[in-house]
Symmetry: C2
C-alpha cells in the first residue's frame, strides 16, 4: 500500500526518533528526530532531513558540513513509532568528526573512547 508519513506515531512534540545506519557496514551512526515534514522531505529528496529540536527548523544533514546522508532505504518498526534509515554517509556522521556518534563504550564500568576524530 502507498505510504503516508501521517500514519506514523509521533510523540507529543510531533517527533519520531530516526536511527541512521550505514547501509554497507551496518554501523549505527546516530539518532536524531524527524517530524512529519522531515519524513516527507527525506523520502521526496533522498537527502536525509531531520528536525532540529534546538533550532526548531529542518536540518538537512550535511548541508553546511558536506557530510550528507543519502537515503538508501527507510524502514519503520512494528509500532510505527521509530524509523530506521539505511544511508550512504559521506564523511563522519558525528559533529565531533567521528564516523559514528556512538564512540563511547562502557567497559568494566568505565567510559572508553572507541573512535578517534577523523583527520
Amino acid at each position: 500500500m502507498a505510504f503516508d508519513p501521517a500514519t506514523l506515531v509521533y510523540d507529543d512534540r510531533g517527533l519520531i526518533p530516526a536511527i541512521a545506519q550505514d547501509h554497507a557496514s551496518g554501523e549505527v551512526l546516530m539518532l536524531a528526530w524527524m517530524n512529519e515534514g522531515a519524513v516527507a522531505r527525506t523520502l521526496a529528496t533522498g537527502r536525509v532531513t531531520y528536525w532540529s529540536r534546538s533550532r526548531q527548523a529542518f536540518w538537512v544533514k550535511g548541508e553546511t558540513s558536506g557530510h550528507v546522508q543519502r537515503l538508501v532505504e527507510m524502514r519503520i518498526d512494528c509500532d510505527g513509532d521509530t524509523i530506521l534509515l539505511l544511508v550512504d554517509q559521506t564523511g563522519p556522521a558525528c559533529h565531533t568528526n567521528r564516523r559514528s556518534c556512538f564512540y563511547t563504550g562502557l567497559r568494566d564500568g568505565a567510559e572508553v573512547e572507541l573512535l578517534r576524530p577523523e583527520a
Copy 2:
C-alpha cells in the same frame, strides 16, 4: 572514568532511547526506552532491561517470552542522550515473532514486508 547512569540526559519523562543491535550481524533489532534504574539494572545484571511506558514498570526483555537480550556492550552517543546496546539476542526480538522490529521497508513509495515471522 567510572560511569554513572545519572550523567545521561533523560527527557522530561525521565527516559532515554536505547537501540538494540545484534553484536554479531550488526542488524538493528528494536528501539525501546530506559530510565536511570533500567540503565543501572542492565549494566549490573547483563540482562537488557527497559522501562515499559505502557506498564510503567521495568521490562526485563524476554522474561516471559524467553527471547532475552544479553548485553555485550553498552555505548552512549556524543550528547549522552541515546544508548546503543550491542546484544546477543535469543530468538526473535520483535513481539510479532520477527527477528527485528524493522521489518517494513518503503520501496517506490509503498510498504514492503522484509521479514516473515519465525516458525
